[in-house]
């Protein structure tokens, strides 16, 4: 099994109520593939946070999921405003969420920290005015 399983999903930029639709679909797929509960939970939470960020901060984008024998790799890509200071954005409690989404319960500034917490590896590539890609990896086998 050298080629990974690949899935691509669009994320609709103006649908605050999609409520992590892509994450839910991937969760179902991982369940069908027989992954461990904890792996599925961590992947789904990290993806949900990334997906919501694409909706509320970046007007949507595309999510790529690749499943390798030993890991799940997810790339959440958008062509939104980018992040000027990634370190600041990653810190607990930092948020630029507008009032209309705060009233829905977003804006704790905990989404990116949650992605870091629930994934094994996380990397952000971003350029102001161009867009942001959040990469995350979850290992599915104990490391040798």
């Amino acid at each position: 099994m050298s080629e990974p399983l690949r899935y691509t999903y669009p994320v609709n930029g103006d649908d605050f109520m999609s409520a992590g639709g892509v994450s839910a679909v991937v969760k179902k797929t991982l369940r069908e593939l027989g992954f461990d509960k904890d792996i599925i939970r961590r992947t789904a939470i990290a993806m949900y946070e990334g997906e919501i960020n694409m909706v509320i901060h970046a007007n949507g984008g595309v999510v790529d999921v690749e499943i390798y024998p030993d890991r799940i790799e997810v790339a959440l890509k958008d062509t939104g405003p980018g992040i000027a200071d990634v370190e600041l954005a990653m810190s607990d409690g930092y948020s630029t969420a507008p009032d209309n989404v705060r009233s829905l319960g977003f804006g704790a500034g905990m989404g990116l920290p949650n992605i870091k917490k629930y994934s094994d590896e996380m990397r952000i590539e971003t350029q102001v005015g161009v867009g942001t890609t959040v990469y995350l990896t979850i290992y599915t086998k104990p490391k040798a």
Binding site: S23, Y48, L104, G107
Partner: protein, 110 residues
């Protein structure tokens, strides 16, 4: 104590009675990502947020049930999603603190 036992003891309004789940603890919070990152699994979750994203967090955090406090009503999408996920959704006129205190007593007795 199951979510049903809790609903009965706290005299909660039943918006949806889902699959019966064990309530192991409780959690109060309205900031969704905060709840996502910090709430213990199998909690009774007390919140005033009433949109669909509450259901997403409840599923991902494996909540035992969700209780909307202080008379908040679920919006239509939240109710529909809680039904499709089959997680109990309750309501109360009381605030989160009052309900949490009562829940704590019930859990200690259970």
């Amino acid at each position: 104590m199951t979510d049903r036992d809790l609903a009965k003891a706290l005299n909660l309004t039943v918006f949806h009675e889902g699959e019966s789940r064990e309530v192991c603890t409780g959690y109060c919070g309205d900031l969704l990502s905060w709840v996502m990152g910090r709430a213990p699994v199998e909690s009774a979750w007390f919140t005033v947020m009433n949109n669909n994203n509450v259901a997403a967090v409840a599923v991902l955090r494996e909540m035992a049930c969700v209780i909307l406090t202080q008379g908040v009503q679920p919006d239509a999408m939240l109710l529909a999603r809680m039904k499709s996920e089959d997680i109990s959704l309750y309501g109360s006129a009381e605030d989160a603190y009052t309900l949490a205190v009562k829940t704590g007593t019930l859990l200690a007795e259970a």
